[in-house]
Amino acid sequence: MELSESDPEKARERLAAMCEKLLANTVIEEYRIEEPA
């Protein structure tokens, strides 16, 4: 995922929201967010 967001915290929040809302179905799936090294 590439986001146009300079604040890493905000980027994480946005990604987490995307996962919760659409990208993962947390009834049957888990997700984790890793930042590129």
């Binding site: 659409l22 990208l23 179905n25 009834v27 049957i28």
Partner: protein, 230 residues
């Protein structure tokens, strides 16, 4: 008495449901495009089978963001009667109108055949024309029908009588080889919400609603909801 049949891009059982409502039951029916936000005073909303948005990402995951779903949610919250059949059930799960989730069939194959269902609860507006414990024959056609819910959720479903249809053999016995076509937890084929006005089921009652098509067991589901509303 108006049936609203929601049409998503990729719905393919919309005409079948429309046919049953209009020509078998003789009630008014109309298609509602998924971008529409007006249910036109419908008494029953049907989310039909198909492959909305090509099943991309997960079955039902994108369709639940369709504009019409906001109105379907409000309609259900007011106590309006909503049924999701097959892909429609998957959309209801993704939208949170029903609890649980759908996984790939345990065979990892698309399954298309008649199955037997045991009616577990005949007290809902949907199942009132069936008898509790009755075994009916209805076709399924899906690749993702493996229902899952966590333990607490399952306890709640069972405790509240929300499991309305279970896969069984022709005599109503569970656990018989081949009776459960997809690996669904507790042989669950159809559930309602706690209030009973929202039903989701993987089998297709609209496909066996006339004798000429080889069976009529599905018709009573639609007759039941008509009777409940009229």
């Amino acid at each position: 008495m108006l049936f609203a049949v929601i049409v998503f891009p990729g719905s393919n059982c919309d005409h079948d449901v429309y046919h049953v409502a209009k020509h078998v039951l003789g009630r008014a029916a109309r298609y509602i495009w998924h971008k529409d936000r007006d249910l036109r005073g419908a008494d029953v909303v049907v989310l039909p089978g198909g492959f909305a948005y090509g099943d991309y990402l997960r079955v039902g995951a994108i369709a639940r963001f369709s504009p019409v779903m906001e109105e379907v949610r409000r309609f259900a919250q007011r106590g309006g009667h909503v049924v999701g059949i097959c892909n429609g059930f998957q959309i209801l799960l993704e939208s949170g109108l029903l609890p649980g989730a759908m996984r790939r069939n345990d065979s990892l194959k698309y399954v298309c055949r008649d199955v037997h269902l045991k009616v577990e609860n005949a007290m809902t507006p949907w199942t009132r024309k069936y008898a509790r414990g009755e075994v009916i024959r209805i076709p399924v056609g899906h690749g993702d029908g493996n229902y899952f819910i966590d333990e607490e959720g399952l306890r709640r479903l069972e405790g509240e009588g929300q499991v309305v249809f279970r896969y069984s053999d022709a005599r109503g016995a569970r656990g018989t080889r081949g009776a459960n076509p997809n690996g669904s937890l507790a042989d669950i084929a159809g559930i309602t919400n706690a209030r009973g006005n929202v039903l989701g089921m993987m089998p297709h009652p609209e496909r066996l609603a006339e004798g000429v098509l080889g069976g009529e067991d599905g018709r009573r589901l639609f007759e039941g909801i008509v009777e409940a509303i009229e």
